[in-house]
Symmetry: C2
Subunit: 278 residues, 2 copies
């Protein structure tokens, strides 16, 4: 199969490495000539170009730019594609991407490989990045079964775990376990930073240990990433935040009323409910 | 110096090991004869007994039972003490302990060594547990300078970092960085567990990775510990939760109004504000 990859960073480059190793021909497009050259040198692609026209012969195209660029890239790409070309993406939100993309190119199926490293860029690309990791595909009612099968086979080539669901189900699930934690965690940092007494603030900073470190980690991460989650998964995130506020209001109420038995049951429940997520 | 330790678990046992190594005489009291025996065998104490009367000759007594037992143990202990005996504790909240304890025994000074391991009990006690760790002492206006100096010297013997503040400042600081994170984190777990669609819940559980794991860790911990924080540091925790809810409400509002520039600045600020806590 001829696979086109637009965006040769960590994800695009790692996909290319694995698929080439499986015997597929991989064509890569990047805005940077230096990235094109390194992708060829590293064996992530057979050919690379800054020109989307390189992908005219591709059977499947995987869009790996930043989320905000996925739809514009698809628009720029489609004049070059053969009508039977199947297009997918790797964005971490799905509804906001799948709806316009499928409207523009009916043979578009959303995808989200949930793997990564702390590093970015083509130099960070590695073989086997997706082994055992979840890879969500989000077909819709318009999706052709044969097209979905094609993508499932490609995901299987990566030894990733395929999960099939609607774009909306994906977005609600990642809102719970990825986007809500970022806002919860960021608000924790912002709150602690509001301590007005400099002695208490300094003491809090000194005494903070693993509990604060872990709970605040994702809230102290990349602001662009947090903003992107909010912008592109706004509906599901707002829904999650609404439920979260109700949960927090309950805790406040139990504390105000010194309802210790109920608070204890709550903490027993959260202890029991966490392991299925790990 | 003759030091008495009541409660020969991880903290009490580790204190005894270090202080004996510094040449102090250590007398231990535990409710369990087996613990007394193991504390002697492990070298954590010179003598041990179930009887608080053993501590009649102690210059300094350190109370290391669970928080709810600290005041009752002090009440049971004081008939045995010489009038000049200095008493301290190792509880993780201070105001709720220091006020009644100092009222009952004026030469009481609150203490909080912030070290620990995942293990509990005398078998987990170890030399050097407190090296480099914060050790908060919370004198009040009634505290004698000489008594505070005595405790500072003992903390220095452990090579811990002494921090001096009021009981109230301690409690507000640990509310921010320890007790608030537990409630924030527990509410995250409770919220995600409320997803009504079993397919989305299962997907969320499958897709959850390090972000959810870290943010939910302290909220999925020991329910007794979480309840204890809430019960004994209720005022400071409620204050922290109130500020936290306001921070969260702001995030919700920015999302509702799509005020992306302000949300981005907020996430930039939380990224910048986290490192001083690490």
């Amino acid at each position: 199969m001829i696979i086109g990859i637009v965006g040769l960073g960590l994800i695009g480059g790692s996909l290319g490495l694995d698929w080439r190793a499986q015997g597929h021909q991989v064509l890569g497009v990047s805005r940077q000539t230096s990235t094109c050259q390194r992708a060829i040198e590293r064996g992530a692609v057979d050919q690379a170009s800054q020109d989307l026209g390189l992908l005219a012969s591709a059977d499947v195209i995987v869009l790996c730019p930043p989320i905000a660029q996925i739809f514009p890239v698809l628009q720029a790409l489609t004049p070059h594609l053969s009508p039977q070309a199947l297009v997918t993406d790797v964005g971490s939100v799905k509804t906001a991407i799948v709806l316009p993309c499928q409207d523009h190119w009916p043979r578009f199926i959303g995808g989200h490989p949930m793997a990564g490293t702390a590093e970015q860029g083509i130099e960070a690309a590695e073989r086997g990045l997706f082994v055992g990791a979840p890879y969500v595909l989000t077909p819709t009612e318009q999706t052709l079964a044969a097209d979905l099968d094609t993508l499932i086979n490609l995901v299987n080539d990566l030894q990733a775990q395929v999960h099939i669901c609607s774009p909306e189900a994906h977005d609600q699930a990642v809102a719970w376990i990825s986007h809500l934690p970022v806002m919860v965690s960021a608000s924790l940092i912002a709150t602690c930073g509001q301590e007005a007494d400099p002695q208490i603030l300094a003491l809090a900073q000194t005494l903070a240990s693993s509990g604060f470190r872990d709970t605040s980690r994702v809230g102290g991460g990349n602001p662009e990433l947090g903003l992107m989650m909010a912008q592109f998964n706004r509906t599901a995130l707002l829904q999650s935040l609404t439920v979260y506020r109700q949960a927090l209001d309950q805790v406040v109420q139990w504390l105000q009323q010194e309802d210790w038995a109920v608070l204890y049951q709550y903490l027993q429940r959260t202890q029991a409910e966490r392991p299925p997520f790990l």
